[in-house]
Each structure stands twice: as C-alpha cells, then as structure tokens.
C-alpha cells in the first residue's frame, strides 16, 4: 500500500516568514527549478494532471472557448468521458472512490494478477491518478534543534548546496519569529548566527543517514548527502564532539 509522502507540511509559517522568504527569492525567474521549500507550489505538470481534459483540451484556456457551442462542449465531455472510461478510465476523480481505497484496490489487483497486458498500464494510470495531486520534487525532512521542543520541516530539494541550507536553517531557528516567543532569546537575536560545520558558532548541524548513524553535515558531496539523509539535528558543539568521536 502506498504510504504517500507528507505533502502540504509547511503550514507552520506566519505571513511574515512568507514575506521574508519571497524577498529572498525575488530574483529567481518564474519557472526556476529552485522552488522555495518553505511555501507550497504546485508545478504545472502536477496540476494539469488533476484536471479532466475536455475533447478540445487546449481550448479551455484560449479565447476560442466562447465560440464553442454548449452542445458541442457537452458532446465533448461525453466523448471524452466515454473514451476515457473505455481506454484507461482516466477521468480524474471518477468513479468517486477515495485515494486510500483506490490504492488498496490497485494493490489487490497486483496481487491477483495473471498475464494481464493491461494491468501495468492500469497500475500506472492509477498511480498517476493518485499521485496527480502530490507535490512534485519535494523532499521534506525533519529538523530539530536542541533546546527547542518543536521541530520543523525543510525541503532539501529547494537547496543545491550546503550554504543555502545553512542559511535557511539559520533563518528558521535563529531568527525570532515576530510576535511569537517560541525561541530561546539568549543572545542569538543580535547576530544572525550561522550553523557552521566547524562549530565555531557554538552550534553544529548533524544528520541521521539511512543506516541510522548520525553524521556531521558537510563531509560528503551534496548529492550523496541528499541520497542518504533522513533527518537533521542542530546540536551544541560540545555534544557533537562527543558523538563524532563515537562515529569515528
């Protein structure tokens, strides 16, 4: 059964953070791959998948739609619905069965499959159907910081290097949220501290990898890091030294 990824998780932001974040990104052109990890955005492809396409798909957004007679559009809906039902059943959200149950049905179909040449197509279709509304290209991992009871989540795919990750984490954890007192304000307020691998700021960033080991962030190439990271933790340097010795 597909457990599904946790989409829609960046809900804990106040509007102020939205503004901060969007200022930083104002230089990126629309359509840039570097999406903000802290806000949700739906890539065009993901969104398109959730629409029912009419027989004249392209017309729904062009000005020629007003020239289509109602009857022909109804016919279009009927044709499309029929053809869709006949071929791959790809009318979105029809029949009205919850995603959870749909996944279950697909898994059972897999289990009892014989040599059904259409089975793979069907499974793909169902997978696409259920994945249509999921966020694309996001990789959210949990981040906790010692001394702060509430953890956060960050989209690693929004970053391409350690520095950008470190900056974002700094913003998240070390800058006080306006109007909220969830952070300890013991001197971190004045200087925007960075979490550096050399631990010179008093804090160090570590991650748990696929094997369950805790490693210092920054030792391996970014791509390798992305491939093995499961969650992040910001520790005090004093603690980290002890742990690092254990790893080594």
């Amino acid at each position: 059964m597909e457990g599904g990824s946790a989409s829609g998780s960046a809900s804990a932001l106040s509007n102020d953070e939205n503004l901060v974040v969007s200022c930083e990104d104002s230089s990126s052109p629309v359509g840039n791959e570097l999406e903000l990890g802290l806000t949700l955005s739906l890539g065009p492809k993901g969104y398109r998948d959730c629409r029912v396409s009419y027989a004249d798909d392209s017309s729904s957004s062009s000005s020629s739609s007003s020239s289509l007679s109602r009857a022909s559009v109804i016919a279009g809906i009927k044709r499309t619905a029929d053809s869709m039902a006949a071929t791959s059943g790809q009318v979105v959200g029809w029949p009205p069965i919850r995603t959870y149950r749909m996944n279950s049905m697909v898994n059972q179909a897999k289990a009892s499959a014989t040599e059904d040449p259409n089975l793979e197509i069907r499974q793909e279709v169902n997978k696409n159907r259920t994945d249509a509304t999921k966020m694309r290209n996001s990789m959210f991992v949990k981040v906790t910081m010692d001394g702060i009871p509430i953890g956060r989540k960050i989209d690693l795919n929004a970053h391409k290097c350690y520095e950008s990750l470190s900056n974002t984490l700094g913003d998240m954890f070390l800058k006080p949220k306006l109007g909220s007192s969830t952070l300890e304000t013991d001197g971190h307020m004045e200087t925007p501290l960075k979490i550096l691998p050399d631990g010179s700021s008093g804090l160090v960033l570590t991650y748990e990898d696929k094997e369950g080991d805790w490693m210092l962030v920054g030792d391996v190439p970014w791509g390798m890091f992305i491939g093995s990271v499961r969650r992040l933790r910001i520790m005090k340097t004093s603690e980290a030294t002890g742990k690092a010795q254990m790893i080594l």
Binding site: A6, G8, S11, Y54, S65, I77, Y100
Partner: protein
C-alpha cells in the same frame, strides 16, 4: 424590563442542552443568554475551517473541551482539489493553545496537520484525551510519537485513512509504561510494522481498551496474541489475514475469537483467505458492524459468513457479493440500517461482476430498517429506483454511483429522471443524496421541489442547462452543501440565486461553465461569501466569459483567507483591486 433569569440558573439549564443547533438558538435570544451560553459550551463544531477565524472561536468559547473541524471540500477525497489548497490545522491549534488550554479533544477531517501541530498539541493541553484525524495529511509517525509520549491521559488515538509519512514503527514504543488510559487505538492506515511485543504490553496494561484497529503489517499470530490479552474488545480491525494455512494456526485463531464475547464491530481483513473465515463464525451472531470492503472474499464464502450475522446493522462490502449475496443479506440481516457496496476492480472495462440494480432492490425489500445506502453499480433502471423509493421511504442517505457517466436506464434508454423523482418524493426524510446516470433538467426540478430536508447534494455529469442549477437553488430548502462536477451550467442561475448561497455552508463547482465575470460579480454582490477561483491560469488573462476550472464558494465571517496558494484566486470585494492571491483589506 421583564423577568430576568439569574445566570447561574440559566447555566444550570443549559448544562442539559448538548445539541449545538439548540445552543446556537439559545445564543440568539439576548445578550446575556449569549454570554452565558458561550461560557458554558463544551463542544464546538466548525464545519468549514475558513468560515470563522480561530481567534474568534477561541475567544468566544473559553471553556471548550472538544473541537471538531473540517477543512477541504468533500471532493478533495477524489483528487479534485489540488495539493496545497489549504485547510491548515496549525492556526487553530495555535489559537486554542493560547486561549483554551483545557481543551481535551480534537477531531479533524480533511485538514493538513503537520508534526509541528501534533507536537504543539502534546505540549499545550495538559489533559488531552482524544485525537481523531480523518483523511488528514502532512504529518509523519514522529508527530504521533509525540502525542503518545506526552499525553498522559490519552484515551483515543485514531488515524482514519490518513496519508502519513511513515518513518517506521517506533512511534508505538513511545507510549510510556505508565500509560494505561487508552480506550481506542486505530493505526490501520500506517504501513510500517510495529514491534508486536510493544503492542502486546500496551494492550495488556490498558484495561479499558475497547477499540483496536491494526494495520496490515500485523500478522495473524500477532492478532491471536493481542486478542488473548484483550478479550474485552468491542471493536476490532484485524491486520493481514493471510498466512500459511496450518491447522494449529486456524484453531488458535478460532479460539481467540470465541473468547471475545463482546465483539460488535469487525473490520480490516485485508488479504483474507476464505479458509480462515470460519474462525470468525463464533463472533458473527453478536456483530452489528462488519466491514468487508477490503476483503476479496467471493460469493459462497461471503454468504456463509453473512447468514450468521443476524444482528448486523452496518455492512460494507465489495461488489464481489453479487446480486445473489445481497439477496441472502436481505433474508438474514433483518436489522440492517446501512449498506455500502464498493467496486472491486479499479477499471471499468473489467466490470463483469454480476452485481446489478437487482441487488439493491433485494435489500430494499428485505431490510425494513435500511436508511443509508452507498451503491456503486455499472448501470441502473428507473424501475429499480421506483421500487426502492416505494419500499424504503425511511431512507435518510441515498448515494448511487452509476459508474458509467451519462448511462441511461439500460432497459428503456430513458434518463433516470423518473427514478430520482420517486426517491426525492418518496423519501421524505432524505438528508443526503448523490445522483448519477443520465439526468435531464427535469430530474432537478423534482429534486428541488421535493427534497425538502436534503442537506448535502452531489452531482456529476448531469443536466442540460442552467435550469438545473436554477431548480436546485430555488428549491431544496435545507440545502447546506452542494457539489457539482462536469455539468453544463453556470452564470445565470448562480447570480440569480446568490442570496441562497449565504444560507449554505458551501458550493463546489468544477468543470462547469461558470465564467470569471460571474465570479467577480458574485463576489462583489455578496460580502459574506468567499468566492475562490481555483485555476492554473490567472483568470484576468482570459476573456471574462471564459469558464474557470473550479470554484469554491462558502459563507464566512472571517473574510478572505490569507493562506491561499498561487493557483487559488480570491476575488476582492473592492472592484478596483480585482483579483489577488492575498486579499489585502
């Protein structure tokens, strides 16, 4: 100045009033009644989380103990609402944590709940007892672990069909050894295996545990061991029911079930092998609720099971039951109140299951207490609908899904107008109705006229023109929720009946002919409606007459919301500002 009831007396009187509808009426009498009522309300229900602001609710009801919220529109269940639309639980949790720390129960449906939310709940409400999340998403098993670890008096933890990021089965081990208060645990939607020894210990030390729903990763052996420790269970959701068939395994299972003398509800049964079903026979006579909708059990085995369930009130099953099986249900399960029949094949061309309209007719004839129906079927007839309406005028919920869009009565080739007319006219207590099949505007004229108590109406691929919507909005006195997809109407009817929309909770229309111009007009005309256009393309870049992809209109006292994503366009009340993502006041 008339007689005034001392507020203490009024408080005492109000302590007997539970229904929120009544309490809402009480609060309208006068200011002092409003004040007394609001200070004594313990259970708050918000059917649309955007209809009112969290701060307003927290301020008005400081003594709230139980909060129930619903987020996304119902059609989100079928992937019609894109990800990121909204429905965030965080602002509510935050507001409650600040003002109502005595909150004990939170029930959320179709909302985005993050681990932060769950951690905040655990940290903020000292006497937290009940968490029920239905069709929610956005959190991981870490959040669940936080609840388990911190809420010392936790009684209910239910995850119903949620999409959870599963980081493993450790969360279960976070229940401390001192926690003995669990009454209900449902983790059926999680994938990962939990440590069975942890679960055994937890079950053993919670003497009040009455409802346990396992996930498919729990094996039959595990189930047996758990049942031995909790024979007092009244509700059970099994894990995977498949295992290598061994005689000792079967007899152990049988014995374990026969010791559960209070079992009333049974669900789960994934991958059930028919050979194991007889192990359940001992509990059948006591069952009132049976969910076989994930069990690929076929006919003769199904009947063998069902004919023993004489007390059954609720049955969820797949179309594998066939007409024959439903005929058997009609004769053995005389107490049946609710029937749901789901399709077994994801694809329609594979539908050659012998389940037709006749199956539902059998049950309607034989089960006199039947009041709630959800039925998926490839095609239907007017005659069947007429019979159902005649036999079961006590129906409260009738949801028929004729799987083939636009399918007419397959015997006469006519639209199903007459059939649904009979349902609307005959079933005077109908509260919820879903229609399907080929339907003309006439069908909706009947529904508008006769369905006086229908509160929720779902329509797909139906109607001929704007008249359809006109009929519905000018009739249907009790209508609160209307959801429509792929129907050929729009502007005229919508604008004409704008006032009606303020008497409803919400209206959803997708793939219809509602133009952007009409949306603008509607929004500017009706200050207390949020008109949301959900469309990939900015509506202003197209002619005003071009149809928008989806609209979601709901009444609200909170104004336009501030958390819309880029594909949701709020039409500002001020015509000069036009359209925006963030409504700037």
């Amino acid at each position: 100045m008339g007689l005034r009831l001392p507020s203490k007396v009024l408080e005492h009187i109000l302590s007997f009033i539970d229904s929120n509808e009544d309490r809402n009426s009480v609060s309208l009498v006068c200011k002092s009644w409003f004040e007394t009522e609001r200070k004594t309300r313990k259970r708050v229900f918000v059917g649309n989380c955007y209809a009112v602001s969290p701060a307003a609710v927290a301020k008005r009801f400081p003594e709230v103990r139980s909060l129930t919220l619903k987020g996304k529109p119902h059609f989100a269940d079928y992937n019609l609402v894109p990800d990121g639309w909204g429905g965030y639980a965080w602002p509510w949790i935050e507001a409650m944590a600040a003002k109502c720390p005595s909150l004990e129960e939170i029930r959320l449906k179709r909302m985005v709940v993050t681990d932060e939310c769950l951690e905040k709940i655990a940290a903020s409400f000292k006497d937290f007892k009940v968490l029920v999340l239905t069709s929610c998403e956005g959190f991981s098993t870490d959040g669940i672990a936080a609840i388990a670890a911190t809420c010392r008096n936790l009684r209910v933890l239910e995850l119903r069909e949620c999409i959870v990021e599963d980081l493993g089965g450790d969360w279960l081990s976070y229940f401390p050894e001192s926690s003995t208060s669990l009454v209900s645990l449902d983790f059926s939607c999680l994938d990962s295996e939990v440590k069975i020894s942890d679960l055994e210990r937890l079950v053993s030390r919670c003497p009040n545990l009455s409802s346990l729903k396992l996930n498919p990763a729990v094996t039959l052996d595990g189930l047996v061991s758990l049942l031995r420790r909790a024979p007092q269970l009244t509700e059970l959701g099994t894990g995977s029911f498949a295992a290598q068939l061994k005689p000792e395994a079967f007899s152990k299972l049988s014995e374990a079930f026969s010791n559960c003398k209070q079992l009333q509800s049974l669900s789960g049964l994934w991958d059930v092998l028919p050979e194991y079903l007889p192990a359940l026979y001992s509990v059948c006579p006591g069952l009132t609720s049976l969910n076989l909708s994930y069990a690929t059990v076929r006919m003769p085995d199904l009947v063998e099971l069902l004919r023993r369930c004489s007390k059954l009130q609720k049955l969820w099953v797949m179309d594998l039951i066939e007409d024959k099986g439903l005929e058997a249900v009609a004769s053995y399960c005389k107490e049946l109140r609710e029937l749901r029949v789901f399709p077994s094949a994801p694809d329609l061309d594979e539908a050659n299951i012998p389940l037709t309209e006749q199956g539902l007719v059998f049950v309607s004839k034989g089960c006199r207490k039947l009041e709630s129906v959800l039925y998926f079927c490839v095609q239907f007839t007017n005659a069947a609908l007429l019979t159902i309406a005649r036999k079961r005028p006590n129906l409260k919920c009738f949801r028929l899904c004729v799987i083939e869009p636009f399918a007419p009565d397959y015997k006469t080739n006519e639209p199903l107008d007459k059939g649904f007319k009979a349902i609307a006219e005959g079933c005077k207590d109908l509260r919820r109705l879903s229609v399907s099949g080929l339907l003309s505007d006439k069908a909706f004229k009947y529904i508008g006229k006769h369905a006086k108590k229908v509160r929720m109406l779902s329509i797909a691929f139906a109607g001929d023109s704007d008249l359809m919507l006109h009929h519905l909005l000018s009739g249907c006195e009790s209508l609160k929720k209307l959801e429509i997809r792929d129907c050929p109407f729009g502007d005229t009817a919508l604008l004409e009946h704008a006032a009606k929309l303020e008497t409803m909770r919400s209206l959803w229309m997708s793939s219809c002919f509602v133009s952007f111009g009409a949306c603008k007009l509607l929004s500017q005309k009706m200050p207390r409606l949020n008109v949301e256009v959900i469309d990939e393309h900015p509506p202003e870049t197209r002619p005003e007459s071009s149809p928008v992809e989806r609209i979601y209109i709901y009444r609200t006292v909170a104004g336009p919301r501030m958390d819309t994503p880029e594909f949701v366009w709020t039409i500002h009340k001020n015509p000069e500002i036009g359209v925006s993502h963030l409504a700037i006041k």
